[in-house]
Amino acid sequence: MPLHINGAGHPEFMTLPWSLPLEQWPTDQIAALPRGISRHVVRFVKLADKVVAIKETNATIAEREFVMLRELQRLGAPGVVPLAVVSGRTNALGEPLEAALITEHLQFSLPYRSLFSQALREETTTRFVDALAVLLVRLHLLGFYWGDVSLSNALFRRDAAEFTAYLVDAETGDLHAALSEGQRSYDTEIARMNIIGELMDLEAQGHLEDTVDPMAIADRLQERYDELWEALTQTATYTSNIPLRIANRVKELNELGFDVSEMDMRETDDGEALVMRAKVVDAGHHARRLMRLTGLDVQENQARRLLNDLDEYRMLVSHPSEDEGYSAHQWLMKVFEPTVRAVPREFRKKLEPAQVFHEVLDHRWFLAEAADHDVAMPVAVASYVKNVLPNRPDEQSVLGTPASELNAAEMTADLPALTAEVEARSQETPIFEGDNTGAWGGAIDDEDSAADADDAPSSAPTVTRQSTKREPPAHKVPGSERD
């Protein structure tokens, strides 16, 4: 059987060295990014405009997983994007090689293992597990039975103060019209087992703090899952003040981050009460609202954070009676974009723009507390760029620096100078109006030329405006396994 590439028509796929086992591909084509544990060989490969993940496996599995991932993508499930299946590979001697599944590398994603070059705190572990519980509920609502839920089979992205989990391994999964109780409970049972195994493995490696109890963490997954499932699928019976009760129920779901797109309402037989159940809920309530207002495409908790800031801006700076869309536009131009643009190029691989914004907000709050007065956003950014970003040990650029480790006194002493500097600069640098990409701009940089020497930290980044899609540069996660 000749080489056969089925899927996205990407010309570069044809030029990859398919006649070599993936393990032997030349390192200059490989992107050294962190990975979870897996049975198959998985490597990341650099193409001109993106990084892809390639997994070697047999043709049937690859094909099945490809179809499954595509279906999940269609349903809007958070997961890696499948690009193609490569089959009919042979080596130079004409002997068959395994098939390959190509997926898009999920940018800024963190396999949980990459974060453990130092002991893992309980708090971080629980955030991972909480994110996994949300992912599992979302997948189950869509009728997806995973069959192999684990920390390794999910990817995590920072999402404001939380993580958001994405599905990465759909090999054992199955789609159904709706899941049975048994399927859901078995999936969470598998998840518990796997999480315990994974955490015990970290323990054996000395990468888990003594206080972390793998079983308690696994139980937490079950609890979080049950809570969220119940909150989203419960049936409520109302006897009075029905319109208000319904509105409240919808708001409740919104606050959990879900929109209700189909509601099932029935009168009880005696006509005395109304039985109500949200039939179809879609995750991403805040992300959608932010997208509608600003065109920014960010994760749910980041969106919450940005919306809070936007709403505050509308109340305090713009005007509450101002058209929402108009204030959003003002906020984007005057607050969001200048903030993320103040981050010098060499630091842009560390975090997504929306995540930077979230951190700057945190930092601003921290400074205000320490200085005991309000700190302007541009000053907060400058301080963040000067004091937080550069000094961060590499892996903390991923995990976040606990505020307690920053030196408040020093930074507070800095503030007057920074304020003067910012004011002087704002006279010269024009505002980049109307850029709503929300992205750093530009194509993927080569992993190994992280900081361009001739790129002065304060120089303005190139900005692309074509789409509202986020297309940030490849993210180098420090402390990663190197190929």
Partner: protein, 385 residues
């Protein structure tokens, strides 16, 4: 260890009319290796998932031992799905990889150690217990994963096409290993496959399903010698049984130019609905070469001869100058007949050979219902391929 009973168990998927599994009744003995087999979509995976608790049971019940588990959650059924996921943890020893699930179940250390050691003995892993998985071969790693299921000492093992992703050679090897392992452990096992060869070689008994309906349960020998209907006859055995619909005159089936005398019990069972037709089946290995025009001999025109060293097969057709028989073939391809012949006496393409069906190796089915008409035959020397 325990028996398993499907008691009229049905599954109707929401939005479908026909049950995916229709009133399934099977009694599986304690320690038995039961294989469910059938073509794609026959309901075998659904049946297995019903037992695992992953699929609701819409009607009937399922019992494990003397416990009705119909409404019991999967994790409380004391059943292990083997090969579901076999992640191995790189920094844990082989022993810990096998035993960690027991730790979760709060089983005490010495008990865990002894169960792990027992499992390791059975799996030939004793000397590796204190090593890390990295030091193991692929096959050994797979056995460690099996060990994880074994140490839990579940009442029942479930396996759904565990070999489907292996290449042909490894498949045959692993098949033998699983069967041997199951016999050593003596744990009741339900195994699903679409491959009848796998079913025949592994199962103590086989259950054949079609369209959600159980067709027959029996030992490999039963299925091979006495298929209960045309479907089972065509499904079990490789190459498949030759099947055709022929008209009956005076107790004889008109097969092409030949008249084949049918057993008396079969003739006695013929009903009006059969309109004097039967489905006659004979396995490729149930035929003897005969002289041209010998009594009861069927002429076969040779299309292809396949020589396999110890065996040879003729693929041919029955010349049909009378035109009164409408062929009804289930697996052997268009009006094709397969004959196993002596590899030392091989005809040429285009030759006509004559064969008779060996005594007691006829399979006669109703042309109307497909059900078997002749009584079970008893003989010793048919070869299960």
């Amino acid at each position: 260890m325990a028996t398993v009973t499907y008691d009229g168990a049905s599954r109707i998927y929401p939005g479908t009319e026909r049950p995916a599994v229709d009133k399934l009744n099977i009694d599986i003995a304690d320690g038995e290796f039961l294989v469910m087999v059938g073509p794609s979509g026959c309901g075998k995976s659904t049946s297995l998932r019903m037992l695992a608790g992953l699929e609701d049971i819409d009607d009937g019940a399922i019992w494990v031992g003397d416990r009705d588990v119909t409404h019991v959650q999967p994790k409380d059924r004391d059943i292990a799905m083997v090969f579901q996921s076999y992640a191995l943890y790189p920094h844990m020893s082989v022993a810990d990889n096998m035993g960690f699930a027991l730790k979760i179940a709060k089983i005490d250390k010495s008990e865990i150690r002894s169960r792990v050691e027992d499992a390791a003995k059975i799996l030939d892993l004793t000397e590796y217990l204190d090593r890390k998985p990295k030091a193991l071969s692929g096959g050994q790693r797979q056995r460690v994963a099996m060990g994880r299921a074994i140490v839990r000492q579940p009442q029942v093992f479930l396996m759904d096409e565990p070999l489907s992703n292996l290449d042909a050679k490894l498949r045959v090897q692993t098949r033998t290993q699983i069967a041997a392992l199951q016999r050593r452990l003596g744990t009741t096992t339900v195994y699903v496959t679409h491959d009848q060869t796998e079913a025949l070689t592994m199962g103590d008994r086989i259950a054949v399903l079609k369209d959600g309906v159980l067709q027959q349960v029996g030992t490999p020998r039963d299925m091979y010698d006495t298929p209960k209907n045309v479907f089972v006859a065509g499904f079990i055995g490789s190459p498949a049984m030759n099947l055709g619909t022929y008209q009956v005159f005076d107790g004889q089936a008109q097969v092409g130019r030949a008249k084949v005398t049918l057993t008396r019990d079969a003739i006695a069972q013929l009903k009006a609905d059969d309109k004097n037709h039967v489905v006659l089946g004979f396995r490729p290995e149930s035929l003897d070469r005969a002289a041209p025009n010998a009594e009861g001999a069927i002429p076969i025109e040779v299309d292809i001869v396949e020589e396999l060293g110890s065996d040879a097969f003729v693929y041919g057709s029955i010349p049909n100058e009378f035109g009164e028989s409408k062929d009804l073939h289930f697996a052997a391809g268009d009006s094709q007949v397969v004959v196993r012949i002596d590899p030392r006496d091989v005809p040429a393409k285009g030759d006509t050979i004559w064969v008779t069906i060996r005594g007691g190796e006829q399979h006669v089915f109703s042309a109307a219902t497909g059900d078997r008409l002749n009584a079970p035959t008893i003989h010793q020397d048919a070869i299960v391929k």
